[in-house]
Symmetry: T
Subunit: 68 residues, 12 copies
């Protein structure tokens, strides 16, 4: 890791299933357009409710990747 530079972007993943799955969806999407994704940090977990049940988990994550 000699003097590399990394960039952090903020992405919101959503999932009807679980909060972990919302994170996974965010990582998968970010990795489609970025090489070298290395880590994530959860910023906020929230969600939408419909008819008294959780319709979607939404997780805001910072995603870090190495700049070549």
């Amino acid at each position: 890791m000699s003097d590399h530079v990394y960039k952090l972007i903020e992405v919101v993943g959503s999932s009807t299933t679980s909060s972990d799955d919302a994170i996974r969806n965010a990582i998968t999407k970010a990795s489609e357009s970025l090489d070298n994704v290395g880590w994530f940090e959860v910023q906020q977990t929230r969600g939408h409710v419909e008819n008294g049940e959780i319709a979607h988990f939404q997780v805001i994550v910072k995603v870090g990747f190495r700049l070549d």
Copy 2:
């Protein structure tokens, strides 16, 4: 969403199973007495430990609902 007003309340759900389940329990309980629950935001995830194992997840959530 023309000039609606919403209210946020803070609720703590608990679950012996998972942190997502603790959120679901909070939403279910809030929806018993409130119509129009629309979203939630996790404030803190914590829990009780007994005999070296997690006895309950406790998740503090803000729950938003539309005032008619």
Copy 3:
């Protein structure tokens, strides 16, 4: 709980499976060397990504235990 004193330590659990499992691993490890672990509070949820997938969830938790 008459005038007991508690201590809080900060531990990072990791898991290839889920964020809840990372918390459980942190609690299990802390309980190996500490009696009287009573509660935890999640400080941050993060993780490592390899080849576009989550390799590990890492959860920083504060763990509280009673001093005898």
Copy 4:
């Protein structure tokens, strides 16, 4: 103000016009059901965007009122 007790609730006002107007709508709505509303504190200013323009300002305010 001799030993009075106050309560704080959190309300989200929205407005198509301005952020100040969103606050006013929150205060007006809160005052419909509460006597003795005395002050507010802005928690967050946000809004919805449609077709590249702000459709609604949404302001989360804490509203304080005296309990009789």
Copy 5:
């Protein structure tokens, strides 16, 4: 504590005497209308000054209670 749900409200107690007394006044008032008050968390300690002396301590507390 099997899967109970709790609610948190925010109350401001005041006292001419001490900051602890302001907390006590907040708890006493909250307990008049709520059963099952279980804990509090201080959010902010502030106060009014008149003629160079503290006229009132005001303490903002979150009060937690179990929903039946």
Copy 6:
């Protein structure tokens, strides 16, 4: 909103007129290069002062948009 992924960017709008106008300028600029801008969240309101008067309001906003 089935499993969509969103991105958040941070933009600073400025205006000689008002803080709301600075937000509008940020949203307008962001929408020039981004489709599907959906919401914003104010991070900070600041400004420059010249000759004792506000020369520019500057508002830092997070802008959220859907990734296709």
Copy 7:
């Protein structure tokens, strides 16, 4: 800006009209006794409510000025 030193003070402006006007009043007052006021940063927006309407916006601003 070669090695200048600046000072930040905290001022609360109020206005019956708008939150921006409360900021302007704070800046105007600060500029009466200070030369070289250069910028401001909003810390909190709050206000007083009377008879269900906003009586005053109050905005806490940090004001920066150059020390000669």
Copy 8:
């Protein structure tokens, strides 16, 4: 309170006796050189320990006063 402007300064009071007394000492000192002190907000409570006992409570308070 028609369009008044207030200033906030930060003062640290200390006391060998109690945290409330440390606040009172800060207010008394601030009022020696300032007219119109109106309110305070506690920022941090800390203290020095000597020989296993609290030697001084130190409380950082913001003190607000009206500018004439």
Copy 9:
């Protein structure tokens, strides 16, 4: 204080009497096993409520001590 190194630990003191007493109990307990305790910083003040009255104040403090 020439190049000394200090350690901070987090301790929760409780008291049936007062919040200051809860701090004192935390300091006393920490000093039983640590030499050179030098200062503390309050992190959070909370407590348990039973039958509408405060049963215990609980204060989370960081305690700093010099490493020899």
Copy 10:
């Protein structure tokens, strides 16, 4: 600075030498692909340790640049 719009990105610079050098590396890298970089704000300073010595300083900085 008439109604310009700026963008903030988050970059992590690393350096084996110093924390300031880690900032410089982040700025240099960001400036390779961006014109008009105007300012930075340090978000966090951290680093890796190997064999009891600091192997790299890592500094997370927000970098602001003008959008044309």
Copy 11:
């Protein structure tokens, strides 16, 4: 330190050389007009960039001094 009262002011030092030097410049300037400066706390480290290089480090520091 028997019942002394201290004041905290906020100062921004700048330096073309290093972030530590920006702190030193802030302390030197503050000490020109204040006796008894005792400590500082860094609030934020930022800076200006020109032509892809750091033109100035700017460090916001709180400076504490004893009131006689």
Copy 12:
């Protein structure tokens, strides 16, 4: 990094020379009694001032190490 558990402790390093050196002193001291120190995160940079000059930088760092 398969399901390892890490611990975070908080240490304050001081130095008469520089803030980076204060961090190094903290790391060196922590590594004397801990194997497997892996990373640090700066929490706060502060210092003591004597006769208008910085006598010591003091940096509070969290230090992370792997539990075997």
